[in-house]
Each structure stands twice: as C-alpha cells, then as structure tokens.
C-alpha cells in the first residue's frame, strides 16, 4: 500500500504546530497503524529528520496510551479498537490519512501527537479509590455478596483504559464518560459504599477544575470508546452527584 499522511507536527508545548505531508510506500495491509508510523519514523530517521512523537506502550489495546485522531475519528474508523489494534487493511491503497493529537484544553500537546493526559490521573486521585486494608489480611473477595448484574456493570465500567478518546471525540471535550466510568465501577460495589458521596463530589469537582467541557449527551463518546463504555454510566454519575449534593453535610 502507498499512502499520503498528513500529520500534526509540533516541536513542543509552545510551538504553534502545523500539518505536514509525508509519503509512505510498501505498507502491508496486515500492519497495525502504529507499525505503519514506525515505518514512517524509520524513513524520517534515515533522512536525518525528527521522527513523529506518538504515545504507545502495550500495543494490545489494554494500556490506553495510543491516542491518535485518525481521519476525523478517535482511534480511526474502527469500532471497539484502539489505534494499536487498527490495521492498515481498514484503509485503501493511495488514501490520504489525517493524523492529529487529541484536542482539548485539558490535554495540552507535549510534542507532535503526544498529549499530557495527567488531568485524568488527578480526577482519579480526587476520589477514584477505595480505602481498604491491603496489608496482608485482605478479605476474601466472595465474603461480600454482590448481585451478578452489579458485578457485571462494575466490571464493564472498569474496562475503561483511560485513553481519552471520549474527550477527544466529544465536541465539548467533556470528560464525563471517563469520570462516570470511574465513579460507577465503585458506586456499584459494596466496597465503594464508604466513600460514595465524597467520591462523586470530589471527582466531578476535579473534572470541572481541569477545564473539560460540559456534556451535551451527543453520545459520540460511547460510539468511539474502544471499550464500549456505556452512557448509562453518565446517567449513574448524574444520579450519584445529585443525591450526594443534596444529602452531603460538608
């Protein structure tokens, strides 16, 4: 396959940045999208040019590092896949492919396609945890009865890998799907009960402080999420927040 790539190049946080055009040839349709970028970077290094910086780690769709906005969609045209799982057979020979970083005020560009997603970490730190004793005398997981449906929903919410595709694809750069998944995975379980109120209040507060936009329920996040996180989680967080705001004494 021969392809024309239009890639966002930005040397650092203060550079204005621009789209630049590259040609790659002899790309196998069986390559992953990241392998195709590897080929481009190999070519650039041989030419003595600066390779394209991009985030990646596990390359098997579970770490949440890869983060490219490909041809106008987060993680490209596929559904339920991250960029590392997107294969070149999804594209046509001779196609022009646009590759951009996640765009959000809360995710500033570090270099080229790499953005700083530590805003997500700070949302988790604000309340996305349970205070349990892990010092060797951990309770058996089955000691607390949990309805199967709740366990399944909590597990589904917990499959969020925090890649930020929801923010990238949302027209408002809202982090509601991410935050609601992290609220839900604990709100659905008895272990999350102790910090239930303060968790949702603090996480939503932190989400707002980070400068993400407001949810308008377009549903784009759910469609583009590589893990299929459901909008049900957003409704659950809306409920949790409403209840906690009314009943909280602090």
């Amino acid at each position: 396959m021969n392809l024309t790539l239009k890639i966002w190049r930005q040397s650092g946080p203060n550079d204005k940045g621009r789209m630049e055009t590259y040609q790659v040839s002899d790309i196998s349709p069986d390559m992953s999208f990241l392998e195709m970028i590897d080929v481009l970077n190999d070519q650039l290094v041989r030419e003595g040019k600066d390779p394209v910086a991009f985030d990646h780690d596990c390359r098997e769709g579970i770490c949440g590092m890869c983060s490219m906005y490909i041809n106008g969609e987060a993680h490209g045209p596929g559904r339920g896949v991250t960029t590392c799982q997107l294969h070149m057979r999804s594209f046509k020979d001779g196609e022009t492919i646009y590759i951009e970083p996640w765009r959000a005020a809360a995710f500033p560009v570090i270099k080229d396609l790499v953005t700083d997603r530590s805003a997500f970490d700070r949302i988790i730190q604000a309340g996305g945890y349970v205070s349990v004793n892990t010092s060797g005398n951990t309770q058996d997981a089955n000691a607390l009865p949990i309805p199967k449906e709740n366990a399944d929903k909590a597990f589904d919410a917990a499959t969020c890998i925090g890649c930020g595709a929801c923010v990238a694809t949302c027209k408002n750069s809202s982090a509601m799907l991410f935050t609601s998944a992290k609220v839900s995975q604990l709100a659905l379980l008895p272990q999350g009960e102790a910090e239930r109120e303060r968790r949702v209040l603090r996480m939503v507060n932190q989400m707002d402080l980070e400068g993400f936009g407001n949810c308008t329920n377009t549903g784009a996040c759910e469609v583009e999420c590589p893990k299929g996180i459901s909008l049900e989680n957003i409704a659950r967080m809306n409920r949790e927040f409403l209840k906690a705001s009314i009943s909280s004494e602090s």
Partner: protein, 240 residues
C-alpha cells in the same frame, strides 16, 4: 465544597437545563391546546379564543405559571449560552479534519444554534402577540355569535391573529408564516435531542424506561411542532 459545587458545578448547570427544558415541554402542550382553538370557525371560535386569551392573561394561577415560564425561557437560554461558551473554551484548537457525523446526530451537535433560532422566534412572537395583548390598544369584541352584546367587551386577539396571517391585510403575512414554520422545524430538531437528553441528565437511564422515553421524545418532537405549524399555514391558505 459541596455548597460551591451546587452553585457552580457543570452537572448542576445541566440539571437546570433539563428541568427548565422539560417544564417548557409542558408549556408547549398548554400553548398548543390554546392555539388549536383557532380552528373553530366563525364568531363562535372568535368568542371562545378571546375568552381563553382573557383567562390566560388574568387568572392568578395562570399568572404564576407564566412567570415560571418566563424564568424558564430566560434561564434556559442564559444557561445554554454559558455552557456553550465554556464548551468552546474547552477545545481551543480545532481538528483539521473531523467527522462528527460518524458518531452523533446533527440535532445533538447543534442545540445552541437551534436554540438561538428559537430565541429569535420567541422575541418576534412575543412582540407580535403577547406585547400587543398586554401593552397596546386592542380591537374589542363586543357581541357574541348570536349578536347579543357581551357583558364585558373582550380584547380581540382572534382578529389580530387572523389579520397577521392574512395576506390581503398584512403584506408580510407570507414571511411571517414561513418564519413560523421554519421556527417550528427548529423546535422539532431541538426537542428531538433535548427531550431524551434531559432525562439522561437527570440520571434517568433505565433498561425498562429509557426506550419508552426515547419513543415519547421522538413522537413529541414531531407531533407538537407539526400541529403548531399547521395553524399559520391553514390561516394563510384559507384567507389568501
């Protein structure tokens, strides 16, 4: 912290959007029922409509509801504008190439645009009818269908409305009718997304009820604006 969260949080702004929006849906139903009386022909229709208009502007319970409606319209608009500006700020650099149609509906992405059209419509609509009824000298209806004198003459809003969409009286009648119809299309799209979205914002997302809410929302968003739009079209055509 929760006190400031109640006043400033992104979620609270959305709760207000949902609550005022759903209240305005109820208002639309009430308004529509009133308007449909314009289909009643002759003097009988004129009398009924004018009596209804009098009731709507003088009954104290209706007055309270009307203040809630004014508040809802203004707050919904103010809150919506605020949210839209915040959302713009959240993405300072736009994508060079974006395909939002792949993952979301047109109406859901253009609520602010549709809302702006509606605000312009409400402003002209209130100038044309509401302000006339409240603040200006109106023609009066003095006799009923049988020709008997009324105990108390009624402000003749019926004649004002008829004349407004009558091309031989108002040379802007066609423009008025078309703008009305376009605004009703805008409200249809606004409701298409807004009705079900309000429930999601309030946290109502349930396997049993959400499909029903979505169905009612779609029916509401088509039927209510359609019935509203049919009235000026009917008045224009029958008087042309």
């Amino acid at each position: 912290m929760s006190r400031s969260a109640i006043l400033k949080s992104s979620l609270v702004k959305k709760y207000w959007m949902a609550l005022t929006g759903l209240f305005l849906c109820l208002f639309l139903v009430g308004h529509l029922v009133g308007n449909l009386q314009l289909f009643i022909p002759g003097m009988e229709g004129q009398l009924q409509f004018n009596e209804y208009a009098k009731f709507m502007t003088s009954n104290p319970a209706v007055k309270i509801l009307s203040y809630v409606t004014y508040f809802s319209i203004l707050f919904h608009a103010f809150d919506g504008i605020k949210l839209t500006f915040e959302n713009r700020k959240a993405r300072p650099v736009k994508y060079a190439y974006n395909k939002p149609g792949e993952n979301s509906g047109w109406a859901s992405r253009n609520m602010a645009l549709l809302g702006t059209v509606l605000l312009a419509f409400i402003a002209t609509h209130m100038t044309n009818f509401w302000a006339k009824m409240h603040f200006t000298e109106m023609p009066m209806q003095t006799v009923d269908a049988e020709g008997a004198m009324l105990m108390e003459p009624l402000k003749d809003l019926h004649t004002v409305v008829m004349a407004f969409f009558n091309p031989s009286v108002n040379n802007m009648a066609l423009v008025a009718m078309l703008f009305y119809v376009i605004s009703m299309i805008a409200i249809a799209f606004h409701l298409w997304h807004g009705f079900q979205s309000a429930w999601q914002t309030l946290g109502v997302n349930h396997k049993k009820y959400t499909p029903l809410i979505k169905l009612i929302g779609k029916g509401f968003s088509v039927l209510v604006p359609l019935l509203f739009a049919v009235i000026p079209i009917y008045l224009y055509i029958t008087q042309a």
